[in-house]
């Protein structure tokens, strides 16, 4: 048995501690240790964005971050986007624009889009496409995703 490490971190605003093996990725910790399965695994090597979370506000592929790296930092996952019984405007716009078909890419896109709007509240279509180029969607052809993000930017 590999020895485990205690990690203290803040996830979706809540301070907590978890136990993980040093070799476990943050994605694995979120999904298998903490039961936060909103972050998805599409490739496990940084090429699809399905596992996107915000680490100290920065967009990362959680499959490329180790669980132990969350020590003392804040993690934001899709489970933390809605607040006070209200969907985040991005979530609402994704629904209204039918920006998801199968939905497996959606959590990653939502966090990527959120980090975009945090940096740039009024992006152009080209900026949206550029920022979202790290996220793969095989179902939608991106059209409705890009529209949803642009519309959400207008609302936020």
């Amino acid at each position: 048995m590999k020895s485990k490490v205690i990690v203290a971190t803040t996830i979706n605003g809540e301070e907590l501690e978890f136990l993980c093996e040093p070799r476990q990725s943050l994605l694995e910790v979120l999904r298998d240790v903490l039961g936060l399965t909103g972050a998805k695994e599409g490739c496990n090597n940084g090429n699809c964005g399905a596992c996107n979370v915000l680490l100290d506000g920065v967009l990362v592929n959680s499959c490329l971050v180790l669980g132990v790296e969350a020590e003392g930092r804040t993690v934001e996952t899709v489970e933390g986007m809605a607040s006070g019984g209200q969907l985040h405007p991005l979530q609402q716009k994704f629904l209204e624009h039918a920006a998801l078909q199968c939905g497996i890419c959606t959590p990653g896109f939502l966090l990527a889009a959120k980090s975009l709007l945090d940096h740039n509240p009024d992006p152009t279509e080209a900026e949206v496409r550029h920022w979202l180029a790290g996220n793969l969607c095989r179902c939608t052809g991106y059209d409705k995703i890009v529209r949803a993000v642009l519309d959400a930017a207008d609302t936020v």
């Binding site: 399965t37 998805k40 496990n44 940084g46 699809c48 979530q91 998801l100 078909q101 095989r138």
Partner: protein
């Protein structure tokens, strides 16, 4: 644009999907999210060789590793003789299907499963794989369909004989089947032509590319009941496949479908499910979860066939096609069953032809066994025929859409395989594309060009069952069994709401497993909104009839005197809403229906694309894209548009970038999403859609399947645009930068 006049209350609107909130909050449970008490994790050991005999497998060291609970090999599968079974959507030899999930005596491709392990966690399982010793005798391999047909090619399956035009051959071969469609007199047809174009094409193996890898969790109970949770296009198909592969009765298998992260045809065949079940039994009846890595998805699932295609077509000066001939060689992968039959059906389906011959060959090669991919075989075929059609139009000086209109099939014309078309919408779709502003918009700038192409897909009806119950407040619970991959809960619930005359919000649909609803075929073949929609239409009619009966009893009048309209029951001035009546029911009202409708009718799409070719680097940029399609009736237009956009995007990836690359040992070298490059948001523009609504007379609400047609035209449309932009006729997919540069170089050498 619409040609419908029927007015609907719910159909045609754009409500939010019932499963939407779960999916945007991360709450929806996909296959990999399943967790059961005491669960183990399974992993698969895969062949590093393209073709080899398995001399021995020694798992003793793996079994001594702490935390390893079971190891299985093909010895753990029941022996299955040759039996042809209708599984899922396709006909397979079960012995081959069994050998594909765990190699028996030979491995036939890099990534072929050889053994599987269950352990306390995934890391231990991976360590255990490294401890399993497999001795191989490496054999010569063949990757290319044409080479596999040659006399001295290595033979993959010793017992395979060619089904040569209906007769079985007697020599070992890699050609599983040769099929043919034929009519009229080709020689006469070509003699009548003023222009003839003949070209040969090659298309690469490509993958469905769903973002969610395959997964399955299974529990084999002490009483031999088997429970499976997985993301699949069809729970009932998984159940049937498991029954055949494990040789146990269907009634002992319960399959519960989870949410699914894309399928496109690739999540019909089982890979992990039977292994997880066997591991569970061997590991002391503990549940076992298995998920694939992305590399495994690419090496060992899907893909769709690479192909060699030759097309020859002739036309008169007036634009009439006089003859068409094609030969299609499709690579089936390791076991027979490429979509060459469908390719033969698609290749000339758009055109009225008196003289035609189509020959198709299903050829095994040392690549993963092909599985369905959105309009299987259609994109390859249309790439070949629709670029030749473009060239004919060009040579005759006729506008490409006009040329297609002069030859387009309409009701009463014959398909290449014989039967007559019923009501179809190709003409309307071509006209819609021609009158779309995109088609006539000025396109200026160097190395820019516009291309068009049309595409056909036959669609499917399949079997569907559904059940609905009326709640005491007048809302309705709908139980269906069709996997929802792209919003079908909404399109199905909308059809029930329309039938009942209730608001959409009053219907609560749920997708359930094999234990909870009647049989449903897979969500595939563009059938769900059509077929399961029809099932709920029948359910709705039964509910209304029963409710009318109850209203009659309530008023104590003959049932014939009760009128029903828009969810209101009326008799002689008395009125009761559906909701009021529901509150008065002393015996519950519930209804089920099962259907197997046949009048699905094919669909047609016409795509227009503008590209810019960078003649230095060979990179092709998509500047503008419009997809027009005959959709019958769009139940939820947003999700219909989404199908057109998604299909176009996949087709563009197939056209420009995607391909399986092998080394000289037959190993797949680009088994990651970095190297197997699918389109990103940056690679695509907005994709404009035109929904041509010519209602399908074969469906109560005019629905036609829409999901598959849109992947058929893109590769040809892009190739035609590249020709107009850069002057080269591309005959190979993908039209990657390197191939474009090479084609431009050849062109300038020829010109010099």
């Amino acid at each position: 644009m619409t040609t419908t006049t029927t007015s609907y209350k719910v159909i045609g609107s754009r409500p939010l999907r019932p499963d939407g909130v779960d999916k945007v909050t991360g709450r929806a449970i996909y296959g990999a999210d399943v967790r059961l008490p005491g669960m183990l994790y399974g992993k698969v050991l895969r062949s590093p060789h393209a073709h080899a005999r398995i001399v021995s497998i020694d798992a003793s060291a793996a079994l001594t590793l702490r935390g390893v609970r079971a190891v299985i090999t093909a010895q753990d599968l029941p022996a299955i003789g040759d039996k042809i079974a209708d599984l899922g959507e396709s006909v397979v030899n079960l012995r081959y299907a069994s050998n594909n999930i765990l190699a028996h005596d030979k491995v036939l491709y890099h990534g072929h499963a050889v053994a599987a392990v269950a352990a306390d966690n995934v890391h231990i399982a991976e360590e255990a794989l490294a401890l399993i010793k497999v001795e191989y005798e490496v054999l010569p391999h063949v990757l290319d369909g044409k080479q596999a047909m040659s006399a001295n090619a290595p033979i993959l399956l010793d017992d395979l004989r060619t089904n040569e035009l209906g007769k079985l051959g007697n020599a070992p071969t890699n050609v599983a089947e040769h099929i043919r469609h034929q009519r009229g007199d080709l020689d006469k047809g070509f003699a009548e032509a003023d222009v003839i174009v003949e070209r040969t094409f090659h298309t690469a193996t490509v993958h469905q590319g769903y973002i969610e890898p395959q997964n399955a969790t299974a529990l084999w109970n002490e009483d031999d009941q088997v429970f499976v949770w997985c993301s699949t296009q069809g729970a009932f198909s998984v159940q049937e496949q498991l029954a055949e592969l494990l040789q146990i009765p269907i009634s002992r298998i319960t399959v519960t479908p989870t949410e699914i992260g894309g399928g496109f045809g690739g999540k019909i065949n089982v890979y992990l499910d039977p292994l997880a079940a066997l591991l569970s039994r061997k590991a002391g009846h503990r549940p076992v979860k298995m998920t694939m890595t992305r590399a495994e998805v690419l090496t060992s699932t899907g893909p769709t066939s690479g192909s060699h295609i030759r097309v020859k077509m002739g036309a008169r000066r007036d634009g009439t096609i006089t003859a068409a001939q094609a030969e299609l060689i499709y690579e089936a992968g390791a076991y027979p069953g490429s979509p060459v039959g469908a390719g033969c059906g698609v290749i000339f389906a758009n055109y009225r032809l008196e003289n035609l011959q189509i020959d198709g060959y299903d050829v095994v090669v040392n690549r993963p066994k092909a599985s369905a991919y959105r309009a299987p075989g259609g994109t390859n075929a249309a790439f070949a025929s629709e670029t030749v059609v473009d060239e004919l139009a060009e040579k005759l000086g006729i506008d490409p859409i006009e040329f297609r209109l002069r030859n387009a099939v309409r009701e009463g014309d014959r398909r290449p395989d014989g039967p007559e078309y019923k009501r179809i919408g190709l003409i309307e779709t071509l006209e819609a594309a021609r009158s779309h502003p995109h088609y006539t918009a000025p396109l200026t700038g160097k190395h820019r060009g516009r291309g068009v192409a049309a595409g056909y897909w036959g669609n499917w009806g399949g079997k569907s069952s559904a059940t609905a119950t009326v709640n005491s407040d007048g809302t309705v619970n709908l139980i269906e069994g069709s996997t929802d991959i792209g919003g079908s809960r909404a399109s199905i619930a909308m059809q029930l709401a329309e039938t009942l005359g209730l608001p959409y919000e009053d219907i609560r649909p749920q997708v359930v497993g094999t234990a909870s609803v009647g049989y449903n075929d897979v969500t595939g073949g563009s059938r769900t909104t059509f077929g399961t929609g029809w099932a709920v239409y029948e359910v709705g009619k039964k509910i209304l009839a029963e409710m009318r009966q109850r209203a009659a009893e309530y008023w104590d009048v003959p049932v014939e005197s009760v009128q029903v309209a828009d969810g209101v029951f009326a008799h002689n001035g008395d009125q009761m809403s559906f909701r009021e009546l529901a509150g008065k029911l002393d015996t519950p009202v519930t209804a089920s229906a099962s259907v197997h409708p046949q009048n699905y009718g094919p669909g047609f799409g016409v795509h227009i694309v503008d590209v810019e070719v960078d003649v230095e680097t060979g990179k092709v940029e998509i500047l503008r894209y419009t997809a027009a399609q005959d959709v019958g009736k769009a139940i939820h237009p947003s999700y219909v548009e989404g199908q057109l956009q998604g299909g176009a995007a996949q087709g563009i990836g197939w056209a420009l970038n995607e391909e399986y690359v092998y080394d000289d040992k037959g190993r797949l070298v680009n088994a990651s999403l970095l190297d197997y490059r699918m389109p990103t948001a940056l690679d695509l523009p907005m994709i404009d859609t035109v929904l041509v609504e010519a209602p399908n007379p074969g469906h109560p609400y005019g629905v036609r399947g829409v999901g598959e047609v849109p992947i058929v035209p893109p590769a040809a449309a892009v190739a035609n645009a590249i020709y107009r932009a850069a002057g080269v006729r591309m005959t190979e997919l993908p039209m990657s930068p390197a191939r474009i540069v090479a084609a431009l170089a050849t062109q300038s050498t020829n010109a010099a």
